[in-house]
């Protein structure tokens, strides 16, 4: 039993501090982008790109999604797909 637990912990060994520095760096970059004058479209693309990168890093490494089976990945992706669908279905209402 003890060896199983140890092996499992070893398999999940991620460089958590490395992930932390990435998250911190991207947060600083986001704030810098928000303060820098630039065309609105470029700003939105940059900010959304960085936000989704950070969110994926949290899910993949902190929530160990990278090491889980595919079913959990599918469960996690479902709301994302449905939200895109929701936004597209509501767009005709406002334009």
């Amino acid at each position: 039993m003890a060896t199983t637990v140890h092996a499992e912990a070893h398999a999940h060994q991620t460089n958590y501090m490395g992930v932390f520095w990435w998250l911190l760096g991207l947060t600083i970059a986001e704030v810098a982008v928000a303060y820098t004058p630039m065309p609105r479209l470029i700003m939105i693309v940059l900010l959304v790109g960085m936000a989704f990168t950070k969110a994926s890093m949290v899910a993949l490494y902190f929530m160990h999604l990278k090491y889980e089976r595919t079913t959990l990945m599918l469960i996690a992706l479902t709301p994302l797909i449905l939200c895109v669908f929701l936004a597209l279905m509501l767009l005709p209402d406002i334009s």
Binding site: L23, A55, F62, I75
Partner: protein, 202 residues
């Protein structure tokens, strides 16, 4: 009797063919997917109302992003301490586990304090000055519902983590319960990363 005990411990790693991880972990993931839909609905609603509105305030000017950037930093740090407390309890290092989980709880509490300060400041000074009170502009409603819903999740997470800390101290909870609590806490952090971008920066 001994057979039942042996079966129980054998069932610990994979409780059924359906759940190689555990029922608790699968359940938490399904709950988080449903919860993500609630947040998704609120964020999509915010984005569409903003897009449809002729006059929407610039959030960076109205809200101020320095304090919120610090709050984002706090949640990221508390996510790291959560994951470190999990790897500590998996190693069997109970002292480090307690230290890191307490830091996680502390991070959540400071976050809530910052949010209470920010809300007070906004409600009593900034929003009325900018003509954006509840009665005059949709901005106030969407902003407070979205950040309030998230703040309630942080409050829930602080209570949840405190309960886990108490239950582990009494020997009733083990590493797998800490992992499930961690999933919830990281999700709260993940959602804040998105709210910070969509509501404060864009």
């Amino acid at each position: 009797m001994s057979e039942a005990v042996a079966m129980h411990s054998a069932a610990d790693a994979a409780e059924s063919p359906l759940t190689p991880e555990s029922w608790g972990k699968l359940g938490m993931w399904i709950f988080l997917a449903a919860d993500a839909m609630s947040f998704g609905g609120l964020i999509v609603g915010y984005a569409l109302l903003r897009h449809a509105s002729a006059q929407w305030p610039n959030p960076a000017h109205t809200l101020g992003i320095n304090l919120t950037a610090f709050m984002t930093f706090l949640l990221i740090v508390s996510s790291v301490t959560m994951v470190l407390s999990l790897s500590a309890i998996q190693r069997g290092d109970m002292k480090a586990f307690k230290k890191f989980l307490m830091l996680t709880i502390l991070g959540g509490l400071i976050f809530l304090g910052c949010q209470a300060y920010e809300w007070t400041h906004l409600i009593t000074e900034r929003l009325p000055e900018a003509g954006l009170s509840f009665t005059t502009h949709l901005f106030a409603t969407t902003f407070f519902v979205l950040t309030g819903f998230h703040g309630m999740h942080v409050t829930g997470g602080v209570i949840y983590n405190s309960c886990v800390l108490a239950a582990v101290s009494r020997g009733r909870y083990g590493p797998k319960h800490v992992e499930i609590a961690g999933l919830y806490w990281h999700f709260v952090d993940l959602v804040w990363i998105l709210i910070f971008t969509f509501v404060y920066l864009i």
